[in-house]
């Protein structure tokens, strides 16, 4: 065979590799430089600052609040999506009339941009004119309007609820893949042995789904931790930063407060944390490979 660029894999992957690496490594280098520098609000570097920016982030009470809320946000959505997603996936795995319609409806939130979803909810949750209040009043759940987005005590749970709703489709997709990999004869054998539904779930379904649950937990953790549009388009982290999570706080540091040094230091720390999550994911995914 004559020599051709088509037979050299390095030539073939080079353009894609360099473009993808450039868009990560260049910004990362910039962030590293600013994070270690004394920098003014226009991004001009005035000198070396060591770890001052990192320390200043940790001294900011707003950061600690956002950090705690990120934990609640991530755990709430990841486990909420699994607790709802698992039974729903098991129902959708059964054969019943209209199943394909039910599947399409449950998957719908995945098809819509998060920005649009959040904007629609912002309107639905409006205190005076929102259709959620009027709907709840009609069925008698509340008798005065709730100002859902005006205080963190109602806004943040609502944002988590929206987050769960948009995370369920991806979670169910993973679970449906897992459920279809469990052979039917296992269930039949268990029934012959006289196992009831709960025992079958505990002894067969749950253990065999475990690798899929692991994947769903790690991937959802990464996505939810990074999720920006839901909070930004409903409250922009307000009122008074009380619904900020790390990504919205980071955005404000960089583009509103002009604290570029702090913002870069925070980016570097979040990048490191994400890398840890990702390595856990790669381990899980590659372990599946070895089989």
């Amino acid at each position: 065979m004559n020599r051709s660029v088509l037979t050299n894999p390095y030539v073939l992957i080079a353009p894609g590799f360099f473009l993808a690496a450039f868009i990560i490594l260049w910004p990362l280098y910039e962030l590293g430089t600013i994070a270690m520098s004394d920098v003014n609000r226009f991004g001009q570097i005035r000198g070396y600052a060591g770890f001052d920016n990192f320390l200043s982030v940790f001294r900011d009470p707003e950061f600690l609040g956002a950090l705690a809320r990120t934990g609640v946000w991530t755990l709430g959505i990841v486990f909420g999506a699994i607790l709802i997603g698992l039974p729903v996936a098991m129902i959708l795995n059964e054969d019943f009339y209209g199943r394909s319609v039910a599947r399409v409806i449950v998957m719908l939130p995945w098809a819509i941009s998060l920005t649009m979803t959040a904007i629609v909810w912002r309107w639905a949750l409006n205190g005076e004119s929102g259709l959620l209040n009027s709907g709840l009043r009609t069925i008698g759940v509340i008798d005065t309007n709730v100002q859902w987005l005006a205080q963190a005590a109602t806004a943040f749970p609502m944002q988590i609820m929206i987050g769960i709703l948009v995370t369920i489709p991806f979670t169910i997709t993973i679970f449906l893949g897992g459920l279809s990999s469990i052979p039917d004869d296992l269930y039949e054998a268990a029934k012959l042995e006289g196992a009831n539904g709960w025992q079958i779930f505990r002894e067969i379904t749950l253990p065999l789904l475990k690798p899929f649950i692991n994947i769903a937990v790690v991937m959802n953790t990464i996505y939810v931790f990074n999720s920006f549009p839901i909070i930004w388009a409903t409250t922009q982290g307000g009122p008074a930063n009380s619904t900020d999570i790390l990504v919205t706080y980071l955005y404000k540091l960089g583009f509103r407060f002009g604290r570029l040094g702090d913002a870069s230091a925070l980016s570097i720390m979040m990048f490191a944390l994400l890398l840890v999550f990702t390595i856990i994911y790669v381990r899980l995914a590659m372990r599946g490979d070895d089989k």
Binding site: L12, I13, A21, I91, V120, E128, M270, L275
Partner: protein, 278 residues
Amino acid sequence: MSFKLSRKWRRTIISWLLLSPLIILVLFPFAVMLITALKPPGEVLRPNWWPSEFRWSNFITMWDATNFGRALWNSIYVAFLSTAIALVVSIPAAYAMSRFRFAAKGFFRQFLLISQMLSPIVLVIGLFRLVVWLGLLDNVNSVVFVYAAFAIAFTVWMLQSYFATIPKDLEEAAWIEGASPWQALITVFLPLALPAITVTAIFAFINAWNEFVIALTMLRSQDSYTLPIQVFSLVAGRYTIEWHHVMAAAFVATLPVAIVFAWLQRYLVRGLALGAVK
């Protein structure tokens, strides 16, 4: 004839009953969007569900009031061009991944996995400085460039998992017949790969169409806004919000993509799953 429900019917009723709370919650925002979009302007702030009449002309007045045409064009331009660039560099890379064994293959796979996981949000300040340095701030091409680069991990991953299912024998048969590698690639491989390329392209397009943070950061004026930023700008920091126009715009911006996505969703799952096991 017995009046007892068959097993399947009983299962159907129970399943729908159990699913109904979730289904109501999923459909609720769609109902809100459509009903608000069709209300006469005077009734929008009144919290009754059913309007006195359906004002379809809202969709026409929305077009000018929200500067929809310009944003639509920007979104199409950005999504189309970034997808095209990502594909041009991803197809050869995915071909190499599915056809050759080479030393750096494992490294490249891990690199792809990791970069697929990294969200632009943690790099956004560095990306902003890069775009300023390139002199592309408030220029839609900056967004094209960033989207294309971030799409590569996903497109290579999807494409290689499909390419690996195309048997190599066909190309080898063409080589034996005397075809050059280029001829074999163009006449034998690419036609077979076309469905996979199309599906991958559509998903990359939808991702670009829906992206928020990068566009919010790089695009600074109405002339360069893409649809999500344009619709967001209609509600952010304004005292009077024309909600019927906002909902009509959100509906038109969302619906075509949502239908295509719902239709092609199973290929996404299959591609990602194939990529994970191969």
